[in-house]
């Protein structure tokens, strides 16, 4: 049961952290249409996270856990999101200003992640956890559009000017190693898959590779060899960036606990 709830929490944390990251473009989009697109993308992700957090609260059934408690009153080691999703919108390891935001990084990340999630949500429609299956069926519809949107930009920037090509290639080079975390196993995922609740992502890897390689080839981009450090965000061991994301996301709720409007 703990693994079951942890697995749903992992899916929820992925959605909320990327939703929070992408919302940082709100009011700063490169063009008005993209500002709206990223805000809508975040709205979908945060909506998915809410449904998943509510489900975790129902699974724990301890009379204490709520969606707000899960989102706003846990700290870095409690979050189970992929490290990929907490990274800044920049290829610099230590970006110093919001001016370092690079749309190529944002789009490359959305592409790599939504390519996984369309496959994962599709498979989770058959979960024995019927509420999770219901959330998966809804989320799949939204994620299809996220994948198409980010794939369009991968092509536009990759097969664009010399400058846009170089920046998209740098973004893909920077982010691809982090996708290794998609395919490593963890105790919660193994237990959830064994119970028929979750899905072993390694069964999705071949289709994911096809999806990614097809898009990269069309975008005239090279796929870097994935290797080196394997991130461990889903185990609660994160990069230094997650703390800053949480500080921004949680400060209001912590300053005014249980406030309503």
């Amino acid at each position: 049961m703990a693994a079951h709830a942890d697995y749903v929490l992992h899916l929820a944390d992925n959605a909320v952290i990327l939703g929070q990251r992408n919302a940082q473009w709100c009011g700063h989009g490169p063009v008005l249409e993209e500002d709206l697109a990223l805000a809508n993308n975040s709205l979908d992700l945060i909506g998915q996270a809410r449904l998943l957090y509510q489900h975790v609260a129902a699974l724990r059934h301890d009379g204490r856990t709520t969606e707000d408690l899960l989102a706003y009153f846990r700290d870095v080691p409690d979050f189970k999101n992929y490290t990929l999703l907490e990274l800044p919108h920049s290829t610099a390891l230590a970006p110093t200003a919001s001016g370092n935001r690079d749309y190529a990084v944002t789009m490359a990340r959305n592409f790599l992640y939504s390519a996984l999630m369309v496959l994962l949500w599709d498979a989770l429609k058959a979960s024995k956890d019927l509420q999770l299956a219901a959330i998966a069926a809804k989320s799949l519809k939204e994620t299809q559009y996220h994948l198409r949107h980010s794939r369009d930009w991968l092509l536009r920037l990759g097969d664009g000017t010399d400058e846009s090509h170089a920046r998209m290639q740098a973004a893909v080079d920077h982010l691809m190693p982090y996708t290794q975390e998609f395919w490593t196993s963890s105790a919660m995922e193994t237990a959830a898959a064994a119970a028929g609740v979750g899905v072993d992502t390694r069964n999705l890897q071949t289709v994911w590779n096809t999806l990614v390689d097809d898009a990269l080839a069309q975008a005239t981009l090279q796929r870097p060899a994935a290797g080196g450090f394997v991130p461990t965000g889903k185990l609660g061991v994160h990069s230094e960036h997650l703390g800053f994301v949480l500080a921004e996301m949680q400060c209001l709720a912590r300053a005014h606990p249980e406030a309503v409007w």
Binding site: E33, E34, L36, A37, A39, N40, N41, S42, L43, D44, L45, I46, G47, Q48, R50, L51, Q54, H55, A58, A115, V118, L119, D122, L130, Q131, A133, A134, I135, A137, K138, S139, L140, K141, E142, Q144, Y145, L147, R148, H149, R151, D152, V207, T210, L211, D214, A215, Q218
Partner: protein
């Protein structure tokens, strides 16, 4: 908000209830509750209002969310509660996720009203794509989709182009008519 996936709901558009339906009065009362973002269509016509039923001796009104993060959802729930309370009907409002809402549940009247309101209704059938079709959808190579041009709600021309995937709300894309040159919203298949 509670979720109950045990009872199977209807999977399709819901026609206006006739006199004689056990809950006709509640259905017709709720005809006045519209989508706050699109005030010309009722929640039933949108496919959001799914059922009025007896459950454990009390009346239950079942709604289903559209997009996971749609900010209008809690407003709709409040509006349903307010309409019920105003008419003195004691009923619980229940949110149920499965089967997942789809634009295929929009009634023909809803589509006509959307068009009249300046929003092009969803054109393609909204099945979720699987396997190879997912890849084709993402790559904009789905033949079935290419055949269904979005028609301009202003002049009816099908000579239109997508300006942006995401428009004023999550459910809409931004389009432009290449004949009358007007921009318009397109309600995306979901």
């Amino acid at each position: 908000m509670s979720d109950d996936t045990t009872e199977r709901l209807p999977d399709g558009p819901i026609a206006e209830k006739q006199v004689g339906d056990p809950h006709h009065a509640v259905w017709s009362l709720l005809e006045s509750v519209t989508d706050p973002e699109i005030p010309v269509v009722s929640l039933r016509e949108m496919g959001i209002l799914r059922a009025v039923r007896e459950s454990a001796g009390s009346l239950e009104v079942v709604i289903t969310p559209t997009y996971s993060g749609c900010p209008a959802m809690s407003q709709m729930e409040d509006d349903v509660k307010a309409a019920l309370a105003k008419a003195g009907v004691a009923a619980r409002v229940v949110t149920q996720l499965a089967p997942a809402w789809t634009t295929d549940w929009m009634t023909l009247e809803a589509r006509a009203k959307l068009r009249g309101y300046g929003i092009a209704p969803p054109q393609a059938s909204a099945c979720a794509y699987q396997g190879v079709n997912l890849v084709q959808f993402a790559a904009r190579k789905l033949a079935s989709e290419a055949q269904q041009a979005v028609t301009c709600p202003q002049c009816g021309s099908s000579n239109t182009t997508e300006t942006s995937h995401f428009g004023s709300t999550a459910c809409k894309a931004l389009y432009r008519c290449l004949d009358c040159l007007e921009p318009f919203d397109y309600f995306k298949p979901y």
